[in-house]
């Protein structure tokens, strides 16, 4: 078990990717600290995890500075440290032409996708630096490397995350903490089902075909395929890897 007794904190833990990650890291022996703002979903996750009682579940809003500080402090009190932090909180935001997005929505996407990652980083990194060891992972998206019509808000914040990740990685190089991002293609999830519906409200299947048309492999990415990369990057096997974007996209950005 590669993460035996390692403290792994996952934010947005009750989402599709967060759930897959929680199960996978638990299989590797990790002590999990699972954060999500949706208490009900977090309770469901607790029931799904085979050894749910070994994990700490904290309902909290990662956009709120005080709440983030509180759960990081609580984690250190209970478990002594944080070895791995994985930021999975994110939304697609409005799917419409750039000029039709209200500044309110733009701010909302920014807060949810970037500010959350920043706050978690801000409070977790001193804990890791003290022990000169740790790994932080951001979940960006292929739209952090390219544009897509009607996704300007999501593309903006996905790019922003990579900018933050690279600079943070350089801040950390001498302190033993590695910072990387995973860059997945659209993943099979409730989020994508919503997108399909927004694209073609009368015929979501057309929306799906349109999105799959962008993917050379002709299928969505599965959450389980992202977890393997996260596991690799968080492990000692990737000890020379920092400041990079790990692309999992079935050839989408090769186009």
């Amino acid at each position: 078990m590669e993460f035996q007794d390692k403290v792994v904190m996952i934010t947005g833990a009750a989402g599709v990717l967060g759930t897959a990650l929680s199960k996978r890291f638990q299989k590797e022996g990790a002590l999990l600290v699972l954060i999500d703002k949706d208490k009900e979903k977090l309770d469901q996750l607790a029931k799904q995890l085979p050894n749910g009682s070994d994990s700490i579940f904290i309902p909290a809003d990662c956009r709120d500075d005080e709440q983030v500080k509180l759960y990081v402090d609580k984690t250190v009190d209970l478990l002594g440290t944080i070895d791995v932090l994985i930021n999975c909180v994110g939304i697609y935001g409005p799917i419409t032409q750039a000029s039709d997005i209200s500044s309110h929505y733009m701010m909302d996407v920014y807060e949810t996708n970037v500010v959350t990652s920043f706050l978690n980083y801000k409070y977790a990194v001193p804990v890791m630096q003290k022990r000169r060891s740790g790994c932080i992972l951001f979940v960006s998206a292929v739209f952090g490397l390219r544009g897509l019509p009607f996704f300007s808000a999501y593309s903006t914040v996905s790019h922003a995350l990579l900018g933050f990740m690279k600079s943070a990685a350089l801040d950390c190089v001498t302190s033993g903490v590695r910072v990387n991002a995973v860059v997945p293609a659209p993943m099979k999830s409730t989020m994508m089902e919503e997108v399909e519906e927004i694209l073609y409200p009368d015929n979501p299947i057309r929306g799906r075909e349109q999105i799959l048309g962008l993917l050379p492999m002709g299928r969505y990415l599965e959450a389980d395929e992202v977890t393997e990369s996260v596991l690799f990057l968080a492990s000692d096997r990737a000890r020379y890897i920092t400041g990079t974007s790990h692309i999992i996209d079935g050839g989408m950005t090769a186009k």
């Binding site: 690279k166 990685a169 050379p216 395929e225 393997e228 096997r237 974007s245 996209d249 950005t253 090769a254």
Partner: protein, 225 residues
């Protein structure tokens, strides 16, 4: 394992010093930029093992270290032959086999110089970039075939290769050359071959089955700067 190298001495050493004596491996002393020789060892591999599941292409040279306008056409051709033609020839013979198997993973070793420039390394940067162009295109052509093609882009790695570069930079004091290169690297040390090997193992495994057409960077933040 099927192990191919043009350096017979090193290949013998690999066999005698590094690998367990009972490892089942074929050794070919061959030039992987020579069309006939490539065909021969790929054919022999198929005869012996029946297929190729993973193909890792590590052959390559840095070439001399000098300003971009100082190369001769001959030097450019040598680098092209060694770094690019070899990629093409091996892929040409291995791809149809993997396509028939509907399974396979190809990994091409490029370098961080495929994603940025570095003064005095124009030849290496040029051929490294070219490898990514080939990789991405071949990946798109094979997206539905079960064959995956990716590249690895490591930072300078502890190797005789880098010792040559250090010497080329400061012939009278290679240590100075090493310090200069280390100063580019945020961790101020070279990557170790074992660190590259872990990534190659991961990307070629089934765990990376959606990773296709990408460059897997192992550079300790070199490109983040």
């Amino acid at each position: 394992m099927v192990l191919v190298d043009c350096n017979k001495k090193q290949l013998d050493k690999l066999k005698s010093d590094y690998l367990p004596h009972d490892s089942e491996a074929l050794y070919f002393h061959a030039d992987c930029a020579n069309e006939e020789e490539v065909q021969k060892y790929v054919e022999k591999t198929i005869d012996f093992f029946g297929g190729v599941d993973v193909f890792v292409h590590c052959a390559g040279i840095v070439g001399s270290i000098k300003e971009a306008d100082n190369w001769s056409a001959g030097e450019i051709m040598v680098a092209f032959q060694t770094n690019i033609m070899s990629v093409f020839l091996n892929s040409k013979d291995v791809l149809p086999i993997m396509k028939k198997q509907q399974n396979g993973s190809i990994l091409l070793l490029a370098s961080v110089y495929a994603l940025r420039g570095v003064p005095y390394h124009s030849l290496y940067a040029m051929t490294s970039h070219a490898i990514l162009g080939f990789m991405k295109t071949a990946a798109l052509e094979r997206a539905h075939s079960g064959v995956r093609i990716n590249a690895i882009a490591p930072a300078p790695t502890t190797s005789p290769f880098m010792e040559e570069v250090e010497k080329a930079l400061f012939p009278s004091n290679p240590q100075l050359g090493r310090e200069q290169i280390h100063s580019y690297l945020p961790f101020e040390r070279y990557a170790e071959p074992e660190e590259i090997a872990e990534s190659v193992l991961f990307v070629s495994s089934h765990r990376a089955k959606y990773i296709h057409g990408t460059s897997h960077i192992i550079d300790d933040g070199f490109l983040a700067k």
